[in-house]
Symmetry: C2
Subunit: 406 residues, 2 copies
């Protein structure tokens, strides 16, 4: 039999690697052969190549029920190829390195007010944070094979420009070109995406394949990621899910986008703080975990102003989320970003509005849950898109890494 061509070999390598990634218990070479339909010899040869490339690792011999010779289990390598996610948001930057299995191995978050800061300077700041995460990961033998940027605005496709980030004041910025000139991004495969979309991708791992939900990401701005039957709904240009600019009251206060009465003016982080009578002191922000913890503590202590602010924000969210669910027909709302730890106080108002405004509520009562990942979701989702692309096409990764070490 002739050796298969490179395209077939590439597809087979991907099938073997994806199978290992999907297994809850480390499979043996024989198990991979049985599950993928390859012969034992083909499966063994694919596994050998993936082990040699450092994408798979062998575990201690597996016990076998039949009592035969114990096989070696295979797992995704916890060293080598990794994914770097970087979030540039309005009041914080974050970076995260995940291994091939998508586990978070290092993460850095820094509160910093980027409103009005030019893109080049903001990206330099994010690159500094990313360098620290990459250096820490290098100590574990992890090396990013690419980086993905999570941004709070309209991003056109994975390689497209950022069209608009109203809260940063950015328009038509070629973020990938700017980032590509900076360490640690130089030389890496780079992509960009909307932060709520990437948070939804991360959340999908928690909700299970086939899940349908609206991930509402509360930050200074409010975004949403729409997932229907396990797939991110992107719309015609990749701009779907702009929940923050759905109108709550068309005669309401003017938003940074120029329209009146957008959800952000009622339930965005600044509106939430203001309606609670809280104002972040100049130069500080709520982006760091410390101050979000303080806000949660204040709510737990029963601060009347904050509780009233959270209730009002929950009702405003309910008006906009009802519009989204009437239009999109997804049965679950996941509260993400700063809303995750605040969901206990936001959910009642939100659920009240859904019960009245969602036409289908009597037949499929929507569930409202807190994100398992919270404000971390976007940067984790970004990092996971990088390792996902390695698992989906290991041959391309092997070719690149052979070329760069030659």
């Amino acid at each position: 039999m002739p050796a298969p061509g490179p395209a077939v070999r590439a597809a087979n390598l991907a099938a073997a690697l994806r199978h290992v990634a999907a297994c809850a218990e480390p499979p043996s070479r024989a198990g991979i052969a049985a599950a993928t339909g390859f012969t034992r010899a083909t499966a063994s040869s694919l596994v050998d190549e993936l082990v040699a490339a450092g994408l798979l690792a062998e575990t201690a011999p597996l016990r076998r029920a039949g009592g035969g010779r114990p096989g070696t289990g295979l797992v995704l390598a916890d060293r080598g190829a990794a994914g770097l996610g970087v979030e540039v948001n309005v009041d914080h930057v974050a970076a995260c390195v995940v291994d091939l299995a998508g586990r978070v191995r290092h993460r850095e978050v820094e509160g910093v007010d980027l409103r009005g800061v030019p893109p080049r300077r903001a990206l330099a700041r994010a690159a500094r944070t990313a360098r620290r995460a990459v250096a820490a990961a290098a100590g574990d033998g992890l090396e990013p094979s690419g980086a993905a940027l999570a941004l709070p605005g309209l991003v056109r496709g994975p390689s497209g420009p950022l069209q608009l980030a109203p809260n940063l004041g950015w328009r038509d910025v070629d973020v990938l070109e700017l980032a590509g000139a900076l360490e640690p991004f130089a030389g890496l495969a780079l992509s960009a995406g909307n932060e709520a979309d990437l948070a939804a991708v991360a959340e999908l791992t928690e909700r299970g394949p086939g899940a349908s939900f609206l991930l509402v990401s509360g930050e200074v701005g409010i975004g949403a990621g729409v997932v229907v039957e396990g797939r991110l709904f992107r719309g015609a240009h990749g701009w779907a899910g702009e929940l923050g600019h759905v109108s709550v009251d068309p005669a309401g206060p003017v938003c940074r986008c120029g329209a009146r009465g957008c959800l952000e003016r009622y339930a965005g982080q600044d509106a939430l703080l203001a309606s609670a009578g809280l104002v972040a002191p100049a130069g500080t922000s709520l982006g760091g975990v410390r101050t979000l913890d303080e806000l949660v503590a204040l709510a737990e202590a029963g601060d009347a102003g904050l509780l009233a602010g959270l209730d009002a924000a929950g009702h405003a969210l309910g008006v906009a989320v009802s519009a989204a669910l009437n239009l999109l027909d997804v049965p679950q709302v996941v509260l993400g970003g700063i809303y995750a730890p605040l969901s206990r106080w936001l959910a009642p108002g939100l659920c009240d509005e859904l019960a009245v405004r969602l036409l289908a509520a009597p037949w499929a009562a929507p569930r409202v849950v807190a994100s398992a990942l919270g404000p971390e979701a976007a940067v984790v989702g970004a990092a996971r898109t990088v390792v996902r692309s390695v698992v989906d096409d290991p041959a391309a990764w092997i070719a690149r890494s052979t070329a760069s070490s030659a």
Copy 2:
């Protein structure tokens, strides 16, 4: 070579029939073979079977560029298998028979106020209208192979119940069981769908494959069909697109659904008439073409009250459609139902709101156009889903029609 199994034969019949359906000019047997990859002998045998079944017809010999023996052209039969669409809406019923090519061959519309009329009685009324369309079509040798019902509410899947039609006052109605007991539906394959979704399916034929748009269907209620890259977006249960219950003002007037400030209260047909100082006399309706024509004539004559009402409705539509486009990212709005002939007066207010409220407007200005089919779209779309299912699986249709004539 052994004869192919029935599943392969069925797939091949469908491929041949779909190819003829997609051709602008009648293809020859040789042309079908070239386009589908079948041998000349296989293509000929498939065509012979489809001609014998009455699904394909032969045209006069085709002229050939090369000067060889002229071939016979093949077209979808304009007699025999047909699709019956039936619309039960709030103030009218309609029925339509299309031939295999989807051309409208007979159509009946009757204005009738069905608010509060029990489903059994309303369906009996629609069946009477459908019988007239079927009888007229029989005169052309057309016989429906199935019927599809277009309904103004939440329909669960093509065979599911109608969960809710707020303007009819119907809840949890098994419309297919009720309809199946009535002539001309008895014995036919029956399905049901949301009227705006079916209107969007019909509109897709006009907009071309791969189009992305929001079809806004204005009737007593307001629905929407979401089409992204040529595919109807249905959501998790088939309930997507409930634009009429998107909030325009959360403190606004109470809607029939129980919520406050729904779009229907500002731009539905009743609201439109009322805001123009017009009230339909008791027992009459706007559903018939005659009275819609009168409304258009009144607008053309510059009636100040009506023009103000249309302008207000356009702005209200703009608020809700902006929410939809911010969430769905589709670049085109098609005004359907009674909005189609009124689009000239609705579009300015709608476009003003989109320009301010749609975050992505500066990068992809949305187009607002009138539906080519107008109020006819839903019933035509319903009828076309029936013939589409014949073209997609002619073997099943042949088996059924052989069994019923045996």
